[in-house]
């Protein structure tokens, strides 16, 4: 039971990250490695705010906006300074490592005794004792659904249409009299906002910040997106965002199974990489090969 709960919790937290990766990788066709930095960035901002005594619920919008700012930086490097997409992400990821350390103070910051979105006076008062072990998963579910529906809504606005168009065929965006660079920057900022939000929730669920938590985040996101989009390609009633979220949960389940089977915890990144490779090969996604 605890294992299932943990898979659901982590699956949905990383699902928000996967929604961000979905925007850059699938919609914008932009292999954005900033994610490895913006995920712990969200976490760093969160532990810092919580340590300062800011109400936990405030960390969600602040982390999102912070991540959006990071995405804007990546976009400006790529669009205005004309640095290649992959390199823009690497530059940001590398720079953010130091910035994250500055924000958090050190490489490891526990917040065990502080109130979080899962553990504060309001939640504890509202939540009946019988449900207390499901408290975390319920709260994560609610936040994930809000993020998903907001993204679905955005994708159907005029601005969202442009975002979809720019990855599809950027020539047409220019034809419509719109600066395609600006659209890319908007897309990157929403994507990294979601990633940082995911990092924010992750830090509160783990009750700590760890500088290395970002390593491989982009791979987890990509794996989730590819599982979700290729597995549910033919299921028309599911929106892509839902597919991506389910993909993320399935991915976390795979990793949990591998751990359950007795594989060394230190091998987790290797498992991640091998799993990602297997998924890529099975799905035979042409875009996926380009990233590698």
């Amino acid at each position: 039971m605890a294992l299932i709960l943990s898979v659901l919790e982590q699956g949905m937290i990383y699902g928000i990250l996967a929604l961000g990766v979905y925007i850059t990788y699938k919609i914008l066709d932009f292999p954005d490695l900033t994610v490895d930095g913006s995920f712990p960035f969200g976490a760093a901002v969160t532990v810092r705010l919580i340590s300062l005594g800011v109400p936990a619920v405030m960390t969600l919008p602040v982390a999102f906006l912070g991540g959006a700012l990071v995405g804007i930086c990546t976009g400006l490097i790529h669009v205005k300074l004309k640095v290649r997409d992959l390199l823009s992400g690497i530059i940001m990821m590398t720079g953010l490592y130091t910035i994250n350390l500055w924000i958090a103070g050190t490489g490891y910051v526990p917040i065990f005794n502080k109130s979080t979105i899962f553990d504060n006076s309001v939640v504890n008062a509202v939540c009946p004792a019988a449900l207390s072990r499901f408290k975390t998963v319920i709260i994560i579910f609610v936040i994930t659904m809000v993020a998903k529906y907001l993204l679905d809504w955005y994708m159907n606005t005029k601005s969202g249409f442009l975002l979809r168009a720019v990855g599809d065929n950027d020539v047409i965006v220019t034809s419509l009299g719109v600066d395609k660079g600006l659209v890319k920057i908007v897309g990157l900022s929403i994507a990294n906002g979601l990633v940082a939000l995911s990092g924010c929730i992750f830090a509160q669920q783990q009750r700590s910040f760890e500088i290395s938590s970002g390593t491989g985040a982009v791979v987890i996101g990509l794996a989730s997106v590819i599982i979700g989009t290729s597995l549910f390609k033919k299921v028309t009633f599911l929106r892509v965002t839902s597919s991506v979220l389910i993909g993320s949960i399935l991915y976390k389940a795979c990793v949990a199974l591998a751990m359950f089977a007795g594989i060394d915890a230190n091998a987790i990144k290797l498992i991640t990489a091998v799993l990602f490779l297997i998924i890529l090969v099975i799905s035979m996604d042409r875009k996926g090969k380009k990233v590698c």
């Binding site: 005029k158 442009l162 979809r164 065929n169 047409i172 220019t174 719109v178 395609k180």
Partner: protein, 257 residues
């Protein structure tokens, strides 16, 4: 009125591949003209369109629209009053979006792309009415992704999308070249219809000499960055394909082709 004045354009300056395409190139298009442009590969036809649209920069010169120099304007700003259809049918539409979404996107050109709903349900019938005269059955496929349509269907849609809003110029860049002869014919007739109906100033680059002769109010031939033939109005009605072909062959021989 569109004027290109004293345009200079060098490709790969400073290298062994340096190519001087335009040297003091001048060209004027009057309002309401439908100009067909022919010429061999490398004669500067597409470069001229790209220069007008801002897709490539020039080394020197002026581009005047009704007397106003637009050379400093970015490509996307210039294209707010230009409709462009490309040779590649996939360039004028978004393959992963539906016909309805594509048309809604084009319909919003010139207005802000804000957080309003992407598809205006009240306009759906109007879009259907625009698609019906194409006789391609697209009006019943509003929810179909454009990527699954044929090249001809996409190009018809691209043409419709490019001319949906009031524009000053329509730029057609060999827009029938990638289509089979029958579809090309349909698209060409459709083009003529749209141009007449909207009375929009049009520049059409084509390799099809017959189209250049049959359609449009003015015909120019380009060669090595110069206009070597310019027939408009009454004069153009006397031009026939054989004659153009003759000139074409002559310059080709000169080039050693």
């Amino acid at each position: 009125m569109l004027e290109l004045k004293g345009i200079y354009k060098n490709y790969n300056p400073g290298s062994v591949n340096e190519l001087c395409l335009f040297k003091d190139f001048n060209f004027t298009v009057q309002d309401g003209e439908f100009v067909s442009v022919v010429g061999s590969n490398g004669s500067g036809k597409t470069s001229m369109l790209n220069i007008i649209c801002g897709s490539i920069d020039v080394d020197a010169g002026q581009i005047l629209v009704n007397g106003e120099d637009i050379l400093h304007q970015k490509d996307f700003i210039r294209q707010r009053r230009i409709g462009r259809v490309y040779q590649d049918p996939s360039k004028g539409t978004c393959p992963s979006m539906t016909i309805l979404e594509n048309m809604s996107l084009a319909d919003n050109k010139g207005k802000p792309y804000n957080l309003g709903r992407g598809v205006n349900k009240q306009r759906v019938e109007e879009y259907r009415d625009m698609l019906r005269p194409l006789n391609l059955g697209l009006e019943d496929k509003m929810g179909v992704q454009v990527g699954s349509l044929s090249g001809g269907q996409r190009q018809a849609l691209a043409l419709l999308m490019a001319t949906m809003n009031p524009i000053d110029f329509l730029i057609l860049d060999e827009h029938t070249a990638a289509l089979d002869p029958k579809t090309a014919e349909i698209i060409m007739e459709l083009t003529d219809l749209v141009v007449r109906e909207k009375k929009v100033t049009t520049i059409m680059v084509t390799h099809n000499l017959r189209y250049a002769v049959e359609y449009g109010s003015r015909l120019i031939m380009m060669h090595e960055g110069n206009v070597i033939l310019d027939k408009a109005g009454e004069e153009k009605t006397h031009v026939d394909t054989e004659q153009i072909m003759g000139i074409f062959n002559k310059i080709s021989v000169e080039c050693g082709n």
